[in-house]
Symmetry: C2
Subunit: 181 residues, 2 copies
DNA sequence: TATCAATTTCTGTTTTTACCGAAGAAACTG
DNA sequence: CAGTTTCTTCGGTAAAAACAGAAATTGATA
């Protein structure tokens, strides 16, 4: 019995699909992801095609994309020659992988470009000073964020969870703070 | 002399425009933003039209959108009847506003939906247990992140900067850590 | 290594989104 | 209050993205 017969499951899937489009991911990709996330066993491509009513080729592309993010993986199912696909169920893991991949694809190249522009403009007499300064600022800003992220991402997961639970209280532990608990 | 005559300024603007599309913002909007960010004085809509070669109407829409994010504001220029527009130059401020607005537009409604679905399924005998559990998990996860964000966003900016500079070292200050500096 | 199922790539079509120009509304000037 | 100027809204069109189906490739099995 198809998973999506249940109206709430379907509602989730449709909403997830729309969310995707708002963040620059195509609807098929995010729908496939939603379906796999809700499924309790790995699904072969065919079944995804059936349940979502997408073209086979489309599903293939979506799966490849999701594997690129590292949030879906291929698994072998005993006695079946077809590939089956399984979504990452640990949501924290899922999030960190998506963020890591988007940084790699979009943020890192942007920082690289800004670096190049800033360096070239530093030598360039004809460059308007405001423009030079603002591009440099943007470069510094994004680099700072990037470096922060690289440091935080390697912290052990339990540490991250602790930090998350602390929320705003984290400020109390800062060196200069008079407001210890 | 038009700002975009300089090739590096233009490169920035074009890249920024593409970045936008990748994150679900239309190209015109992000280009207008880039132009205002690089400009050292407020620009009237006409001039944006001229420099970017967009339709007047399009620029109007883009400006409205950017004002919706709170990263561009209208200013009055002495002796000119037209509205002029100015981009937020503090990049930290810019980022927090964008994040706040996207949360408001996309994350909050998602959490609301997940909440609704989770609640309904809790009563619903026909709901497959896996589905119920996974939707509930997703709801909890996003709520946790949302609450964390709400706490952190209200911290004073200097505190945030300190936290950012600490990077991974923040872990040293956690209660259980043996690894004090 | 030949066969066949499964998967991916390619190409043309459909759907969606972005965008322009025209018309309307609002704000200001003399 | 008539005439301008500026700004926004709307409907149609152009551009881009998503998608389906056919063709090609891969890879497992015997």
């Amino acid at each position: 019995m198809p998973l999506l017969d249940h109206p709430d499951a379907k509602a989730f899937l449709l909403h997830w699909g729309e969310m995707g489009t708002q963040w620059g991911v195509n609807r098929s990709v995010s729908q496939v992801h939603a379906l796999l996330y809700l499924s309790h066993h790995p699904l072969p491509a065919d079944e995804i095609v059936e349940q979502l009513g997408l073209a086979r080729s489309n599903v293939s592309t979506a799966l490849k994309e999701l594997q690129g993010y590292g949030i879906v993986r291929r698994v072998h199912v005993e006695g079946d020659r077809r590939d089956h696909f399984l979504a990452e169920l640990d949501l924290w893991e899922m999030l960190t992988r998506i963020v890591a991949e988007r940084k790699r694809r979009e943020i890192d190249p942007t920082i690289a470009l800004l670096n190049e522009l800033a360096q070239r403009m530093a030598q360039d007499e004809s460059a308007p000073p405001h423009v030079r300064e603002r591009i440099t600022r943007m470069h510094e800003f994004m680099s700072t964020l990037g470096n922060w992220y690289e440091q935080v991402r390697v912290l052990p997961k339990p540490t991250l969870v602790t930090l998350m639970k602390l929320g705003g209280k984290i400020a109390r532990f800062l060196p200069g703070s008079k407001d210890k608990p």
